[in-house]
């Protein structure tokens, strides 16, 4: 028999992304939470639905020259240039710690060619403790690969297929917003075997320093993230959730439980907290807490009740 009383102190926050079971719908977004260890003093990592680590490539990358970031109105531009230690050292140096966290570890990958995507997928598939792969086909910072894969349905499908064919892990494809119709890309990667899509990656943007008459970023252009992009993200999640039948993970300017719940109403099964972790390192954990409070307050059976529950005429 269940407990007497309405207020279940342990709200049911579980969601499923294909075969991937999350204890709650809150993940940290790639590139904004390092390899989780950076946050251990400030966040109870075990409470998170999952951690998506910084994008990993086959070989180490130095990233772009500085300056790499600049603040904009309610947002920031970054042109990190996908600096990372490469997949081998990632497995050796970062996975041991990550494995110890009582949450799902999702590895974000990127490559300049289908071959690279294949190699890196093969390597990761043999590593214990990895719950899923998130395929970044959308990073705007690297000249080769990045933009092209994400903005063409056929190429997006091709990458998806390569990853799909070389792993039994759930495959999440992360979509770029810098396209005319994101639902076409979403449908293409669904067809190609993606278990889920996550969106949005950053919008391409630029900032100029009038004093020096130069771009603020050494890379000239960068990716826009933060609260500024939330309306764009929300609309794309809404659109994609109505276009595909695989789960959608919502990303873009999420700072609070309210933001997260709006994405879920729009059709997201889970969300990722990105830039907000810089401003409030505890943001992701607070979103978990806030969603729990909401489920209790609204007397929902489960957080799943609000997925796609947006009403409109």
């Amino acid at each position: 028999m269940e407990f007497v009383g309405n207020h279940d102190p342990f709200p049911d926050l579980r969601v499923k992304i294909g075969a991937l079971e999350l204890q709650n719908p809150v993940l940290t977004a790639s590139g904004t939470f390092g390899y989780a260890r950076e946050f251990v003093d400030l966040v109870n990592l075990h409470r998170l639905g999952g951690v998506v680590v910084k994008g990993i490539s086959l070989f180490p990358r130095m990233g772009n020259p500085p300056p790499r970031i600049v603040e904009t109105a309610c947002g920031m531009l970054n042109a990190i240039g996908l600096e990372n230690v490469g997949v081998d050292r990632f497995i050796e140096l970062k996975m041991p710690y990550l494995r110890g966290i009582d949450t799902q570890i999702i590895v974000n990958i990127l490559g300049d060619s289908l071959e690279e995507y294949r190699h890196i997928t093969e390597k990761l598939s043999q590593v214990p403790g990895i719950a899923a792969i998130e395929v970044n086909i959308s990073c705007p910072n690297v000249k080769k690969g990045g933009v092209a894969f994400g903005s063409d349905p056929d190429m997006a499908a091709a990458v998806t297929r390569v990853v799909r064919d070389n792993t039994s892990l759930p495959v999440i494809v992360k979509l770029s917003p810098n396209v005319t119709d994101i639902s076409l890309i979403a449908m293409a990667v669904e067809q190609a075997g993606a278990d889920a899509v996550s969106l949005i990656n950053t919008l391409i943007g630029m900032a100029i320093d009038l004093r020096t008459k130069r771009p603020c970023l050494a890379n000239v252009i960068g990716g826009l993230s933060g609260p500024a992009i939330k309306p764009v993200a929300l609309r794309m999640v809404y659109l994609v959730a109505r276009s595909v039948s695989i789960p959608v993970i919502g990303i873009g300017g999420i700072e609070s439980a309210e933001d997260a719940l709006e994405f879920m109403l729009a059709g997201a099964t889970a969300v990722q907290v990105g830039t907000a972790s810089f401003i409030n390192p505890r943001a992701s954990e607070e979103v978990v807490e806030g969603i729990g409070d909401y489920v209790i307050r609204e007397k929902l059976q489960s957080v799943r009740d609000i997925i796609g529950a947006l009403e409109s005429d």
């Binding site: 970031i69 309610c74 409030n280």
Partner: protein, 262 residues
């Protein structure tokens, strides 16, 4: 290297000059954990604009859980902080980064320019705690005018370390730049020079140290989003064209590791 996020009450607000402010914050855990040369990230205002926190060196800490930051108003974030009132709270996290490394056995020379003086007070304090004898040590404080340096001077006078001042306009101490003072000193061979200030100043200090073959630690700046090694945004170029991250590899570096083209 524990870190904490706190809502710190502003205990004291001091307007030192037109543009320079010193805040005393009640931050139990951060103050306890902090080491000289480390910094904190402070949120300016409660709005989403400006969005990012701002990094500030820890000026000094006290055993009753207080911490000071000293800053100059240079833009919107510092402008907002300069409008805070005593009793209000600020969201702060830290302590962050690697601070100065101290060797109690060696003589030191602290060289600060402008707001670069901020972390040196904490450093001087710690040096006096760990060293028996600071007779041969030296503090050089440089600034544009008397107004900028004078309010800070009395704090440094607490220590048993010789102080020299230098200003661009000669209104306090020597007339000239910190390097002009440094040149007049004969730095002992095993001396460590600690410096913080505008980059050109730190570079001339570093060049002088190289000439004189003494070790030099510098505290550098960079734009930061996270302050804790997560965003990889605060990169600067270091030795052998490698990149380092100011927030986690620094902000204090040995000059030889930076590969400055001196």
């Amino acid at each position: 290297m524990s870190q904490y996020q706190e809502n710190a009450t502003i205990i004291r607000f001091e307007q030192l000059t037109d543009t320079n402010v010193r805040l005393t914050l009640q931050t139990e855990e951060i103050a306890q954990a902090a080491k000289p040369g480390q910094f904190v990230m402070i949120r300016a205002g409660k709005s989403k604009d400006p969005l990012l926190r701002r990094p500030f060196s820890i000026h000094q800490t006290s055993s009753n859980g207080r911490m000071q930051v000293l800053f100059k108003v240079t833009g919107r974030g510092t402008g907002l902080l300069a409008h805070c009132k005593e009793g209000e709270t600020l969201s702060v996290f830290g302590p962050l980064g690697r601070g100065f490394s101290i060797d109690p056995a060696r003589p030191v020379c602290l060289v600060g320019g402008g707001m670069g003086i901020a972390p040196l007070l904490f450093l001087a304090k710690r040096i006096c705690q760990v060293k028996q004898n600071t007779e041969t040590d030296m503090i050089v404080l440089g600034g544009r005018t008397r107004k900028e340096i004078e309010p800070l001077l009395s704090d440094f006078q607490f220590f048993d370390i010789g102080i020299m001042t230098v200003t661009d306009d000669g209104s306090l101490g020597m007339h000239g730049m910190v390097t002009d003072v440094l040149k007049t000193l004969s730095l002992p061979n095993n001396c460590i020079v600690y410096t913080c200030g505008p980059e050109p100043m730190m570079k001339s200090v570093a060049a002088l140290c190289r000439e004189q073959k003494v070790d030099c630690q510098v505290s550098v700046e960079s734009v930061m989003a996270c302050g804790m090694g997560a965003c990889l945004g605060c990169t600067i170029k270091a030795k052998d064209d490698r990149y380092v991250h100011v927030c986690s590899d620094g902000p204090v570096f040995k000059t030889e590791d930076l590969g400055w083209n001196l």
